[in-house]
Structures are given as C-alpha cells and as structure tokens.
Amino acid sequence: MNFIDLETHLKSIRKSGRPILVPYITGGITNDWMHLVEELAHLGADAIEIGIPFSDPMIDGPVIQEASNLALQRGATTESILLELAQLNLEIPLVAMTYYNLVLRADPTRFANWCHEGGVSGTIIPDLPPEEMRPLETALDKESIVNVLLIAPSTTDERLKFIAGKSKGFLYTIGVMGTTGERTDLAESATILAKRAKQVTDLPVLVGIGISNEIQAQEVTKVADGVVIGSAFMRRILEDQSGKSALKFFSSLRSAL
C-alpha cells in the first residue's frame, strides 16, 4: 500500500472546491465488506472511515450498534479488520474509527502497527479525549499516522481552539448533540459549529453524525468542508447485505456534492 497523508489529501480536495465526502463502513459487516470499500473508492469517496466494532459503542445509535454486533458475531477483531485492509490498494486514505478499550487491549504500539499494516492514515477514537491521547499519539507518530479529534456543539470556544490545535488530518465536527443516526432535519447546530470551527482552524472541517441525505449534505457543506456519512449508509447495508442500495445511495450523494 502506498501511504497517503490524510491532511494533505483532504486539503487538496478542498482546494479543488469540491465538498469532501467520507463514507463510514463497519469493518467485517459482510463477507465482502472489502469489496464495498473498494467500490466506495471507485464511486468517488474522498476517504473512508473504517469502524472497528466494539461491544459498548457509547456514541453510536441503533444502526451502528446493530452493525457492530453483526460484525462481532461474524468474528471481526481489531487485528483481523486492519490486516484485511492491507490487501487493498486504494488512492484514498483510510481512517480507522474505534473505542479506546480496543486500543488499550491491543496496546497502542501494536494497534498503531496494525493500522500501519492496513494502510490506515488516521484514527478516530471518540471516547479518547485530547487530554488522554498521549500514549496513542506517541505510538501513531512512529507510523506517521494521525489522530483526528472531535468537537461537539457543546464544546466551548476555548476548548475548540485547544482541540483544533491538537487534531490532525481533519477536525471531526459532531453535528448534533446525540448519537450516530439519521435525523429528519439537519441540525442547526451542525452549521453553527462548522462555522465556529472554520474560524479557528485551517484543518478541513468535516461534519459527521446526523447527516442523512443529499439535501442535508449540501446544506452543511455550504459551511463545512465535507461530511461523514455513517448510519444512512450502514442502514442500507443492513437492509440489503449485497450493498447495492447502499452504494447507489452513495453515488447519488456523490453526484449531489
């Protein structure tokens, strides 16, 4: 695998004027999930977030919970998912998303190692606050992998600056106070927060959590540099394991942005 620098890659897309589109997929969710990852890349994903399933995913709503359980039942582990990724050869960066207990259990160094093997450019650990990320960061640094930090509508200005200063790759903007999952309306909070973020950082600002359709994606990317699409995509995989309808949904999103 060729190593892709996350921040450079995303910034170059931003520079091109196109909104950044990052789909999320739970690793190991189906037998041919790797194929889906490849398809996403072909269909124009700018990066792909790979979820490593955890038994107690605190920030995830019902769809991702179900996907995580399914993947775990199918035997997915941190190692198996990351090492499977090594077989891919993509032109876009991969970002591994998981919870901190899996990192600790593997040990940060081994985890960083597996990420490296899998060609992962960045990590997202939503329950790992910046104050506690030193051990992981140290391990990731050795592999030139970055850790992406999150901000939320409730994040204070001061803290937003602090987080933006520590985040690498991009800034993950939690669009809504809540768990992952689709919402009928785009939360106002998403746009407001994206605006606040843009004022303090040059990092690409991607909004995740709560983006459910093209209209919302268009709306939010008026301010933000891009979006992460999770539950809306995963729900379609759970409903149709072939992934066809999910990929179709992604295509139409891509055309809209």
Partner: protein
C-alpha cells in the same frame, strides 16, 4: 495527602478514572464537576443534604452487633445497617445528593440506569420527593426479571425505558443512559448509580456515600471504644457502598476488604481498560470486548468497578476478594436465622467472606469486624425461594443453619 482524597486534575486516582467520553459530554461533565465543587464547598448544601437524609432517608443508620454470629465465629461482627435506609439500601444517599445538585444546577429531569432496580427505585424516589421528572433505563432482560421494582418505579412516577441494545442488561443500560444524556444534556442530569463513569462521578458519588463511613467511624468510637475496627468489609458492584464505607476508615489502621461476586470480579479477574467513561479494571475478552458479568445478585452484575477501587488495590490500601453464589446463599440464610436480618444478596457477599475468613483463621479470633450491610433482602426473597426449591413444603436448604 489523604488516601481517599480528590482525584487529580484529569479526574484520575493514580492510573484510573479520568473522563473517557465523547466530546459531546465533556462540557456536561465539566459543568457537573464545577457544580459539585461549589455545592460541596457550601455549608448550606451539606446541611440540606444531611437534613433530607435524616428526616426523609432515615439516617443515621445504626450499627448492630451480631451476638449470635460472633459467638459462632469467634470474631466480633458489627453491621452498618444501610438496609434500614429509605428504599432499602445505601443507594438513597447518592441519589438525594445528585438530585439536590441537579436542582441547584437548574436541571429538572433525571435519567438513571438500573440493573436490579434498586438505584432506579432510589432515583425515582428522589425525583418524586423533589418534583422532578425521572426516566430510568433498564435492560429488557432485567425488566423481565425484576417486575416488582419496575412497578415500584412507575408507582413513584418514573418512566421505565426498556433497553434493547447489547445483552439488554445493566452495562447496556449505562450505555443507553449515556447516549440519552448526550441529547438532553441541557435540561437533564444523569444520576449515575455508583462510583463509576467519567469524572466527577466516581469522586462525587463516593463523597455522597461517605456519609456511611463517617457515621460508622463516629458510632464505632462510641460503641466499641477502640479507635477502629480490625477489618472493614463491604461488597463491591460498582463499588459505591464500599467506597463510602472505606472513606471513613482509610486513614485508620483497619484492613479494608472489598468483596466482589465471583462471576463479576473485575478486580480479581479484570484487565485495565476503558468503558463507561472511566479507566479501570474491567472484565473483557482477549480482543477487548466487554464481558457480561454473571452472579446471583443483579446488583453486582457489573463487568467494571469504580476506578478508585482499582487504585486502592494498586497501592495495597484495600484488598479485593470474591465470594461465589453458594457461599452467598449460605450467608444469606445464616444472617437471617441467627440475627433476624435478611440481607440483600449483594450485601451477603460481605458476610460470606467474613464467615469463610473467620473459619480459615484468615481473620484472627477476637478481631473486630465491621461489615456494611448495603441493603435488605426482601427484593431477593422470591429469587432465593426458587433457588431453594419454592415456597411451599419443607423445601431443601431451609433447615436450621448449622455450620
């Protein structure tokens, strides 16, 4: 520096604790920490807290000397009687504190998680008392097992929400309560039931529960006249009754013993990890997935443990042991028949360890042992009766206890 002092700036007790939550909850935790700090520095808050625990909650709870059991075992056993507190366990201490704090912070809704239902009932009680709304998250499986407590909560005006995620038990109820909290955080206080979760919960809940240990140490002086018990024993689920008890004796010479359920012994068999917002000792598989705990007592069915306990174990200030289901059942019967006190199955873990340790000589004859009886066993009678062969007839296991 006191052994059981404040955690550090990151909410850590040594390597444990912290605030491992999604960014959406950081502000709420900070706000709660600030609110608690201010309240806890305010004499008026303490006064109100203590007044309610006294006039409503039934505090102080007495210390009872177990004359017959002591005679049999050759060690002097004293019980701190949290079973006599309103709603039947120590859980009321914590919820009164948190409900008062929530009100002070302008939050009029409570959410809580519950396993067996004791913390749920206590939360519903505090909400009713203070005119707050209360939602209790409870695993669908536990709802099926604990129908009476579900009804008690509803009777008290709380809404009981069935948790359908994961294994549908306590650990999943915590997850769902936290998820719910994220989206209601402005109006809602999450009333966590033990010394677990993100900072400031482990510290705050321990402070609210420390009334157990403070009372007990004053009572001990009056009652026994010696400066401190040789052993101070409490059962450990999340660890709140143990932490509250230990807080009164941490600076004394007493040996502190926490007794876990053999099927949920996070400190004996757990590995350092992060779940529910804290770094602690956690039961997990080789991949880091969290294990379900399994014990006869729903209140100890928790795969983690409060971080301060992990710390106290690490620095060797407290020792953590476990009792298995059959030892616990025997202790449940022994205390009932020798002392006229039916303990909660959770609390029977403490008794079970004392009985064993006295018999093996681990506790020297003549020692003074203080055990916190965290709750009453009425809630467990139906379950125990099934285990012992039903209500009717002479059923096995209810012959007069002799050991």
């Amino acid at each position: 520096m006191p052994v059981m002092g404040e955690p550090d700036a990151f909410g850590k007790f040594g390597d444990f604790g912290g605030r491992f939550v999604p960014e959406s909850l950081i502000f709420a935790c900070q706000e709660l920490e600030d609110g608690f700090r201010k309240a806890w520095a305010d004499r008026a808050f303490h006064d109100e807290f203590e007044e309610i625990l006294s006039s409503f909650g039934g505090r102080p709870t007495p210390i009872t000397y177990c004359a017959r059991l002591s005679l049999k075992l050759g060690v002097n056993i004293y019980l701190k009687r949290e079973d006599l507190a309103h709603t039947g366990s120590h859980k009321i201490n914590n919820v009164i504190g948190q409900a008062l704090l929530a009100k002070r912070m302008g939050k009029h809704n409570l959410i809580a998680e519950t396993g067996a239902g004791q913390h749920g009932v206590a939360s519903a009680t505090a909400a009713a008392l203070m005119g707050m709304k209360c939602k209790v998250y409870m695993g669908a499986v536990d709802i099926g097992r604990q129908a009476l407590n579900v009804f008690r909560m509803r009777l008290l005006g709380a809404e009981v929400i069935s948790v359908e995620s994961g294994a549908k038990t306590l650990k999943d109820a915590v997850n769902d309560a936290m998820r719910a909290w994220v989206s209601e955080v402005e109006t809602t206080h999450y009333c966590l039931g033990s010394v677990m979760g993100p900072h400031p919960y482990p510290w705050m809940v321990r402070e609210f529960q420390s009334i157990i240990g403070k009372e007990a140490s004053l009572q001990w002086e009056k009652l026994v006249g010696k400066s401190s018990p040789d052993y101070v024993v409490a059962c450990v689920g999340g660890g709140s009754n143990a932490a509250g008890t230990f807080a009164g004796f941490a600076e004394a010479t007493s040996t502190l013993i926490g007794v876990e359920a053999a099927g949920g012994a996070a400190l004996s068999f757990g590995i350092k990890g992060v779940v529910h917002g804290m770094a602690s000792s956690i039961l997990q598989d080789e991949y880091g997935q969290i294990n379900e705990a399994h014990s006869i007592s729903a209140g100890l069915d928790y795969p983690g443990v409060g971080p301060e306990h992990a710390y106290l174990a690490q620095i060797n200030r407290a020792k953590y042991v476990s009792a298995n289901d059959s030892e616990v059942l025997m202790a449940f019967k022994i205390l009932s028949q020798l002392e006229g006190i039916i303990p909660a199955l959770e609390s029977a873990h403490g008794i079970a360890w004392v009985i064993n340790a006295a018999k093996t000589g681990e506790i020297e004859p003549g020692s003074n042992v203080l055990v916190t009886l965290s709750g009453r066993g009425d809630k467990d009678v139906a379950q125990v009766s099934e285990l012992l062969g039903g209500f009717s007839g002479a059923g096995p296991g209810l012959e007069e206890v002799d050991f």
